[in-house]
């Protein structure tokens, strides 16, 4: 069996908490394991602050890893092995969440992209301008924007420049962090269609971090749901969204805003104080907000339960969750 393109084992990322809390740590990622095959798209969704961006950055060696192991193409990336990391960086790219800060503010977007091409060194210098133009066209940016610096672009234009730069190295793996959040639906559709095409044509593998569940449903083969540094549920996208097996996933699906102007905002889907990565609650991290929590949830973190392609970290049985969440995603 060939090894997966990306293999992550029990990854932990803690940040030192600044200020007066020196001894405390922000437990951003707490033991995440996952695998990604070539050409596969994994959606990564979850609560704001649950560690999605941290996980994405750590996979590419952009944030120091506290513990655990990342493998790419059968080579170990984490640790002291520089060769593995260099191999990863030549073949993987990140599209950052904040489009304005991801690009050099003093460079025009054409220069930023040209620089990536030059570093990679596979495009002859004479062909760089044409290649830059082609990349900008691919993400729907008009040629007259090429000479602009990021601050003279709109939010969505900046975001597309970031996507063009990531695609410039012709990566085999892209970690896309909220890469269409600032785009109007038509351009968003164009970018998603482009990603679907690249996946089919070049076997591009992707970790797609997003909060727009309708897009995740369209683009991703599998989805992993994060809550407070852990993956609480993972499985084929359709199955997870149509019959969630973790109460947090169920709450997410129920809170998807609807286009129907007569439908009001959902009532508070997650009551109570959100728990903090500075002081994780004992037991299951979700129990303080879980309507279905049992006494044992306060004591023991639920182990990941495997059932075919689906993985759930919850002690409840699937039908206990689906019966309490009658609303489906259908409009």
């Amino acid at each position: 069996m060939t090894p997966p393109l990306l293999e992550v084992d029990d990854l932990v990322v803690h940040y030192p908490a600044g200020g007066m809390l020196r001894r405390r740590e922000v437990q951003a990622v707490n033991g995440v394991s996952l695998r990604l095959e070539p050409g596969e798209t994994l959606g990564l969704v979850g609560e704001s602050g649950s560690g999605k961006s941290t996980l994405g950055r750590a996979l590419l060696g952009l944030t120091p890893v506290t513990a655990g192991h990342v493998g790419f193409d059968g080579k170990r990336v984490s640790g002291r092995d520089r060769a593995g990391l260099a191999h990863l960086r030549r073949n993987a790219a990140m599209i950052f969440q904040d489009p304005f800060n991801a690009l050099n503010p003093r460079q025009t977007i054409a220069t930023s992209i040209a620089e990536v091409l030059r570093v990679k060194g596979e495009v002859p210098p004479a062909e760089v301008p044409a290649r830059v133009a082609a990349l900008l066209d691919l993400v729907g940016l008009r040629p007259d924007l090429a000479g602009r610096k990021p601050h003279a672009l709109s939010g969505g234009q900046c975001q597309r420049a970031g996507i063009a730069r990531a695609l410039a190295i012709e990566p085999r793996l892209v970690i896309a962090d909220e890469c269409v959040a600032a785009l109007d639906v038509s351009i968003q559709g164009q970018i998603i269609n482009l990603l679907i095409e690249l996946k089919a044509r070049m076997g591009l593998a992707m970790i797609f971090i997003a909060h727009d569940l309708a897009i995740v449903r369209r683009l991703c083969d599998r989805v992993a749901v994060m809550y407070l540094g852990r993956i609480v549920e993972e499985g084929p996208t359709e199955a997870v969204f149509s019959s969630p097996r973790h109460p947090y996933t169920a709450a997410l699906v129920a809170a998807i805003p609807s286009l129907d102007p007569a439908r009001p905002l959902p009532a508070d889907p997650l009551p109570g104080e959100p728990p903090s990565p500075l002081a994780l609650p004992p037991g299951c991290a979700f129990h303080p907000r879980c309507r279905l929590a049992r006494p044992e949830c306060r004591e023991m973190a639920p182990p990941a339960r495997h059932d075919g392609e689906r993985i759930t970290a919850c002690v409840l049985s699937p039908d206990e969750i689906t019966t309490t969440q009658p609303r489906s995603m259908e409009p």
Partner: protein, 324 residues
């Protein structure tokens, strides 16, 4: 109807010879929520930053029109008076919070500053109220998190901190530019509920920019749709979402992911073609090169905004009498 709180008339924002916002007009009533939607680059952010007179660089300036707030025309007000209004009369949640939070100041201090200035709280009370605001925007462990610097927050936490900073000044009008793009749907619902509660409690008026028509549908009273620097259609939320009159509005609604009935792996619907850029606007209606209904008239004459079926539309061939 009582006089609107804010009246914008023929507002024009230009960068040198380029008109980024090309004569837009709208009203905002007390306690009203106006949704501003439209293509990326159509001028939504520039229009809103013009209201605050916080344009991003010296090249970009308000070059025409009026922004009437009470007896003041904000387009003509001296900068010193404008400074007095910013924050308290008009608050803004910027699209890119990372660039509008002070990187070397603790989040709690940034929120407490507004509370001291605009609500007259002392240091201690302001800090306590800042922690309360952080809790209201759903930041866990707010007492500890108030001591963090912006880079220690996640993208969505920074976005919520930005909202708390804007609310700290107790604004009468809140301009929120994509305030929930980095938030998961449950936290997003919490933020939207907070805004609705502030509207109920003290008549907060809001201009809400969003690409997510679901968010717009759940919060706004009226919607204005922008295309290439102009408002092409505006009216009551239900009218616009249920029966759009402008073909561009219809295109936007049809492109909402999840609304087209398509399945996994299938391409999403898009509006064919690309939006024009400010330097090369097509003659006539700016949407005509992409419009399925375009006629000879559309290629020649710019459609003027006119009243139709209870709203204002700028189209020669609106979708009247059609069931979408």
């Amino acid at each position: 109807m009582s006089a609107p709180l804010l009246s914008v008339r023929d507002l024009r924002v230009s960068a040198g010879p380029l008109d980024l916002v090309d004569g837009i007009s709208f009203d905002l009533g007390q306690g009203e929520i106006l949704g501003l939607v439209g293509e990326s680059g159509s001028g939504k952010t520039m229009a809103c930053r013009a209201l605050m007179r916080l344009l991003p660089s010296r090249q970009v300036a308000v070059t025409g029109g009026r922004i009437l707030l009470g007896d003041d025309d904000l387009a003509a007000l001296p900068e010193a008076d404008m400074r007095r209004l910013r924050g308290h009369a008009l608050g803004m949640v910027f699209q890119n919070p990372a660039s509008h939070l002070d990187p070397v100041m603790r989040i709690g201090d940034q929120i407490a500053e507004g509370l001291r200035l605009h609500r007259g709280l002392d240091r201690k009370a302001a800090w306590a109220a800042a922690i309360d605001l952080l809790a209201q925007v759903g930041i866990p462990d707010p007492a500890r998190r108030a001591r963090n610097y912006p880079h220690e927050f996640s993208g969505g936490m920074r976005q919520r901190a930005m909202i708390a900073v804007a609310l700290s000044c107790d604004p009468g009008i809140l301009i929120a530019d994509e305030p929930t793009t980095a938030l998961d749907v449950t936290v997003q619902a919490q933020i939207l509920r907070l805004l609705l509660a502030l509207r109920e409690a003290r008549g907060l008026a809001i201009v809400l920019i969003s690409h997510d028509l679901g968010v717009i549908a759940q919060t706004c009273d009226r919607i204005a749709v922008m295309y290439a620097g102009r408002i092409v259609e505006q009216g009551a939320k239900t009218d616009i979402l249920r029966r759009p009159l402008h073909p561009y509005t219809q295109g936007l609604i049809r492109c909402q992911p999840g609304e087209d009935g398509g399945g996994p792996g299938l391409p999403l619907p898009t509006i064919a073609g690309q939006p024009p850029s400010a330097g090369e606007m097509p003659a006539g209606c700016r949407f005509h090169p992409r419009c399925p209904r375009a006629s000879e008239t559309c290629r020649r004459e710019m459609p003027a905004p006119h009243a139709l079926e209870g709203r204002i539309v700028a189209c020669h061939h609106p979708l009247t009498g059609e069931v979408p």
